[in-house]
Amino acid sequence: MTLLEASGVETLYGPGCPDCRDATGDRAGTNQCPHCGTVVACAEADLDVEGGEVLGIVGESGSGKSSLAEALALERDPEATVGGEVSYAGHDGNLLDVDYQTRHDLRTGDISLVHQHVRDGLDLEFTGGGNVAEKLLSAGWRSYEDVRARVRELFEETEIPVARMDDPTRTYSGGMQRRVQIARALATDPDLVVLDEPTTGLDVSVQARVLDTFRRVQREEGVAAIVVSHDLGVVRLLADRTLVMRHGRIVESGLTDRVMEDPHHEYTQTLINSVL
C-alpha cells in the first residue's frame, strides 16, 4: 500500500513568473529563473513511498534534495512558496495545505524529520532525554515513569549511553546528537521518517555506526524512510529505491542497485564515476 504519494511538488524562493518552470531545470542547466530571478529549489517532483520502504534522494549540493524532503516532512519555510500535491495514507487531502494544528499533530505522531543541522532539531540546553521526551509529551504522554521508560528504551535502541541521558545535549558528541535526533524521530512510532543528510559532519567510523543503527531500527520497527544524502554510499547502504536530483528536478529514479550499476542519465553516470 502506498504510504505517501507526491506529484508536482515544488519549492520556489522569489516572486515567481509563468516561465520559471520552463526556464529552469536539467535542460536549462540552472535552477534560477533568468526572467525573474526566482530560485526554483525543486519542481515537478513526483514520487511515492510504500510502507516500510526506504527511498533515497541523491544529488549534488543545491540540487533541491533538502527542499523536497522538507516539503514532504511538512517543514515550513515562511520565505518559500510551496506547491504541488502530497497525499498520505493517514490523512485526507493535500498535506501541503494542512493548517498548523493538523501539521503539528502529524509531525508529533506520523511523520518525523531528522534535520540536517542539529540545532534545528534539538534544544541543546535540554538534556538528551528531555529532547526525546518532548516528542512524547507533545503527543500527550502524561505519566512521568512511562515517558522515562520509553526514553530509556529509545536510548538503548539507538545505542546512546543511557548514563548520559540526563546530561545537557550540548555536551554530547556529534554522533550522539545525531542518534538523539533519530531516537526523537522514532519516539512516537511514526509511519515515515525523513532523514536530511543523516551523517554529514561525522567521521567515517561514527557514520557507519549511526547508519547501522538506523538500518537495524528501521527494519525492526518497519518504518518507512526518505533518506536525503549527497553521499552515494549512504544511499546505497540504506535505500531500496533511489531518486537522483539535479537543478531542482528528478533526473533519474529506480531501484538503488539499478541506478548504481547501470545509470542511464548522463549526470548520474558522472556522479557515480566521481566517487573516490
Binding site: 498548523y100 503539528h104 528531555g130 521526551a133 518532548e134 509529551l137 507533545s138 502524561r142 540526563d166
Partner: protein, 363 residues
C-alpha cells in the same frame, strides 16, 4: 516664555492644573504642598485610560488566562514596583470601595503603604488591613489566607507575564505556542525538574492551565496559593505594568497546575513547624532570622515555634507570611480561614482544618 516661573499664569478654564514654580526646589515643594492633589483626576488616571484598562480586563475575563495588551501609562512609581496592579486597582476603585494592599503578605511594607496612600489620596477610598473587610485587594506574591468571597476582587502584580519565557525567550514563538496550545517545551521543563529533584520543584510562577486552554504564569505567588485560584468565588486580575499585559481568572474557573499523573503537584511543606507568633500550622510560613532577644514579632510571647540558633547568634524562626491573619490568630488561635463565611469547610488552599484542628499541615 516666562510662564513656568509663575503659578498664576495658567488659565483655570483649561483644566490643566497649576504650574509649579521652578525657581528653587523649596519653592516647588511648598507649591505642591499647598496645592495638594487638586489638579489630578479622580483615582489619578484620566477617564479614558481607566476605560481602556477596564476594557482590557473585560476581554481578559472573556478569555481566561489569555494575555491582553493594554497601554500601561507611566505611574508615579517605578515600573516593576506594581504599576500594572495599581493601574488595574485605580481603574476599578470607586469612592465606596475599601482597599487592602499587601506586599509579600504584609500590609506594612513600604511599597504596599505607598500604593495604599496613592489610592487613598486620589480615589478617596478607605483602606484596611483586614482581608474580610476589603472590596479590592492588591497583592504581590500572596493570596490572603482568609477565603475571598464573590464580592471581592483580587489584583495581582505581575513581573513576568508569560510562563513559557522560562523555556524560550522569544515572545513571538511563545505567542504562537499559546495560539496552538503547544506546551510541549514546558512539559520538558517539568520532566527535567523531576529528573533533577525527584519532584517538580518550581518555587513560584508555577505554570498553570486556566480553563483547560491557556497556560498562565500565576505571578510570583508560592505554589501554596495556586490551588486557591481553582474554582474560586472571587475574580482575580493579573496586571503587568512593564509588559503592558492584563490577564484574568474569572470566578469558578478551573485552574490546574501542570503535573504528571505519577508526580502530583505539591505545595510547600513546613515539616513540624508552626508560626512562632500565633502557632498556626496551616498557613504559609516564612523563615525569619532575628537577633536573640529582639522585640520584633515579640507579640508571640513564648516563641517556641521551632527556634534554631545559628552559629552567628541569629535565631531562625518561622512566622506566618500573611501578617493580618496572623494578628487575628494571635487573638483567636482556632480561627478558621473561612470563619467569615455562611458555609464552613471551604476548600481553600492546601489545608483548611476542621473545627478540631484536623486536616492542617498536610501537603
Amino acid at each position: 516664555m516666562t510662564e513656568h516661573t509663575t503659578t498664576e499664569s495658567r488659565d483655570e478654564s483649561t483644566g490643566g492644573g497649576t504650574a509649579v514654580p521652578t525657581d528653587s526646589v523649596d519653592a516647588a515643594l511648598s507649591a505642591v504642598e499647598t496645592e495638594g492633589l487638586s489638579g489630578y483626576n479622580y483615582a489619578y488616571l484620566d477617564e479614558h485610560t481607566k476605560r481602556e484598562v477596564r476594557r482590557s480586563m473585560l476581554k481578559a475575563v472573556a478569555i481566561p488566562g489569555h494575555q491582553v495588551p493594554y497601554a500601561s501609562r507611566p505611574m508615579p512609581l517605578a515600573r516593576g514596583w506594581g504599576t500594572g496592579g495599581i493601574q488595574a486597582s485605580l481603574s476599578l476603585l470607586g469612592p465606596e470601595d475599601t482597599l487592602k494592599v499587601i506586599d509579600q503578605g504584609a500590609d506594612e511594607s513600604v511599597n504596599a503603604a505607598n500604593i495604599r496612600r496613592l489610592a487613598a489620596n486620589t480615589a478617596e477610598v478607605s483602606t484596611t488591613a483586614d482581608t474580610t473587610e476589603a472590596d479590592l485587594i492588591q497583592s504581590r506574591h500572596r493570596i490572603p489566607e482568609e477565603v475571598l468571597t464573590d464580592d471581592q476582587r483580587l489584583v495581582l502584580q505581575v513581573p513576568i507575564t508569560d510562563a513559557l519565557r522560562k523555556v524560550d525567550p522569544s515572545d513571538a514563538a511563545n505567542r504562537r505556542r499559546h495560539a496552538h496550545e503547544n506546551y510541549g517545551k514546558m512539559w520538558v521543563h517539568l520532566y527535567e525538574n523531576v529528573v533533577e529533584y525527584g519532584e517538580i520543584n518550581i518555587a513560584s510562577r508555577y505554570p498553570t492551565m486556566v480553563a483547560g486552554r491557556y497556560l498562565m504564569d500565576p505571578s510570583p505567588i508560592p505554589r501554596w496559593d495556586v490551588p486557591k485560584l481553582d474554582d474560586a468565588d472571587h475574580l482575580t486580575i493579573l496586571a503587568a505594568g512593564r509588559e503592558a499585559r492584563i490577564y484574568a481568572v474569572p470566578p469558578h474557573t478551573a485552574v490546574e497546575p501542570l503535573a504528571f499523573e505519577d508526580r502530583a503537584f505539591t505545595v510547600e511543606r513546613f515539616a513540624e513547624q508552626e508560626c512562632h507568633a500565633c502557632g498556626s500550622t496551616d498557613t504559609y510560613l516564612v523563615e525569619v532570622s532575628e537577633e536573640p532577644g529582639s522585640a520584633a514579632g515579640g507579640a508571640g510571647g513564648e516563641g517556641n515555634g521551632g527556634a534554631d540558633d545559628d552559629a552567628d547568634g541569629f535565631e531562625t524562626r518561622y512566622a506566618c507570611n500573611d501578617s493580618s491573619f496572623c494578628a487575628k490568630r494571635r487573638g483567636d488561635p482556632d480561627l478558621l480561614k473561612d470563619h467569615h463565611l455562611d458555609r464552613s469547610g471551604v476548600d481553600w488552599g492546601p489545608a483548611t482544618p476542621d473545627a478540631d484542628g484536623n486536616g492542617g499541615g498536610e501537603a
